[in-house]
Symmetry: C2
Subunit: 328 residues, 2 copies
Amino acid sequence: CISQDIDHILETQSALAVDLGGTNLRVAIISMKGKVVKKYVQLNPKTFEERIELILTMCKQAMADAVHLNCRILGVGVSTGGRVNPQDGIVLHSTKLINEWSSVDIRTPLSSALHLPVWVDNDGNCAALAERKFGHGKGIENFVTIITGTGIGGGIIQHNELIHGSTFCAAELGHIVVSLEGPECMCGSHGCIEAYSSGLALQREAKRLHDEDLLLMEGMTVNNKEQVNAIHLIDAACLGNSKAESVLHTAGTALGLGIVNILHMINPSLVILSGVLAAHYENPVRQVISQRALLSAQDTKVMVSELEDPALLGAASMVLDYTTRRTY
Amino acid sequence: CISQDIDHILETQSALAVDLGGTNLRVAIISMKGKVVKKYVQLNPKTFEERIELILTMCKQAMADAVHLNCRILGVGVSTGGRVNPQDGIVLHSTKLINEWSSVDIRTPLSSALHLPVWVDNDGNCAALAERKFGHGKGIENFVTIITGTGIGGGIIQHNELIHGSTFCAAELGHIVVSLEGPECMCGSHGCIEAYSSGLALQREAKRLHDEDLLLMEGMTVNNKEQVNAIHLIDAACLGNSKAESVLHTAGTALGLGIVNILHMINPSLVILSGVLAAHYENPVRQVISQRALLSAQDTKVMVSELEDPALLGAASMVLDYTTRRTY
Ligand SMILES: [Ca+2]
Ligand SMILES: [Ca+2]
Ligand SMILES: [Zn+2]
Ligand SMILES: [Zn+2]
């Protein structure tokens, strides 16, 4: 039995992390130190039944692989778009980005099929947990993460813990409103920062310019109109396209003002920009803070995340922190 | 000596509350139950020295009166405009509404002259403390107070405690931005809800309309142009003045969107509207929430404060809570 105990100690304590996004369904084995040991990616199915089935298939595959990789799986952490009740492991309500994903109990089917404890939270909140455990947020009492991808999400750490709010819609940072009017948003409102500054919003503007033959500069090509996206807009602006520059300026101002609102409401010491557009927004955000924030908030640090998979790492951290801290 | 002890018990445990606003300096004796036993009002002097001197004079008068009123003064609570470091009892920075009121240590001169412990916080934060102890916020874990007076202030209670933030500028709710452009604000920025919806902002618009002879309706008079204010605007709108209605509509939309931003960031269960314009804004705010907030935030309660002197009551509560709870 001694040899068994030693084997047990030599195993790497790990988590299964699941990330449910608008496009992809990802599963990963993640070690205590934040190493992504193995990762699996599939398209996220459009129906509830197919989605749950695929999650289970991928998790079972990962659990089988984990044995050979000498990883001991302590539990499953799920990151998902939408509002989540993490106490009950339920997705309350998602935007149009994920179909058939409202009032969905994720914990019960996963924990009964996999015989593991299951944690669930919003993808933005998971990203903040990832920064707290593995990123720029380590040891920072009050910070905020804002993720600009297809949409915009976020998480707020206050006194070292996530804020979930009274009905679990705190830190819905994509839906901070910065205009009395403004473009339509996926949430049904308009003027939200997601409608100005997300990947989808920039793609919408890129397509609009392309339709009017105003997007492409010398040397730029797109094979297919559907492929026009935020990157073309950024490239065109770099090449001196003033219309593209103006769209990006507005997007940066909107995101910056959303962040100014965060500073004036909860006054974190650090804002972490995450997601594919983070590096692009770093300077505009700093500039808007210097122009529009109160003196007392001027020194707030703005950093770009260095984590590759914040949602997956945060999902894993729910599992890993619980098993070491015994309080969550 | 037994008779002395009984006298002591029969005294009402009370606080001295001081409220420093843009116009007035107010001092009150306030009992444990939130009764304003006696109140003193003077114009707030324009210089630091005169202000501190007047505060001391008024407090000494109140302390002398307290003896005859059988009130035992346990300490002094100060509510003031501007950003405050409550740990050190220092006003860090005020807007133009109060002159010579930045980097000011209030605690030291008051506590050494009056021989009493002194607490200091921002007026909006004090209003939230007042609601927690005496108003709609009693027993509510997460709520927000927003005060529309000359300016706009606020306080956030999260897990039953105020949020102060990393540099003491949390809950600067007047400076939530709801427009990429928008009118200039006292803080130096523009598009803040204070620049749209405060008493000063409405007065600015009322004067503008009056200058163009577009304000007054049949039966309305103003003796002096300087007296034109928010009330005239509200009266004119009630009498069918569509320009005045439009100004008030924008003001209500801006305040409502500011509150939507609060809901999407910290998701309180209750928003308390306070100050002279609170009743006027109640319905517009509810309407904007129903139009622009996420489904999960739609059921947030919106109530109008029933407290007469929230800043004074909150200033007193810092004293009274400390003496009973022994933790602050
Ligand atoms: Ca979130
Ligand atoms: Ca405040
Ligand atoms: Zn939205
Ligand atoms: Zn302002």
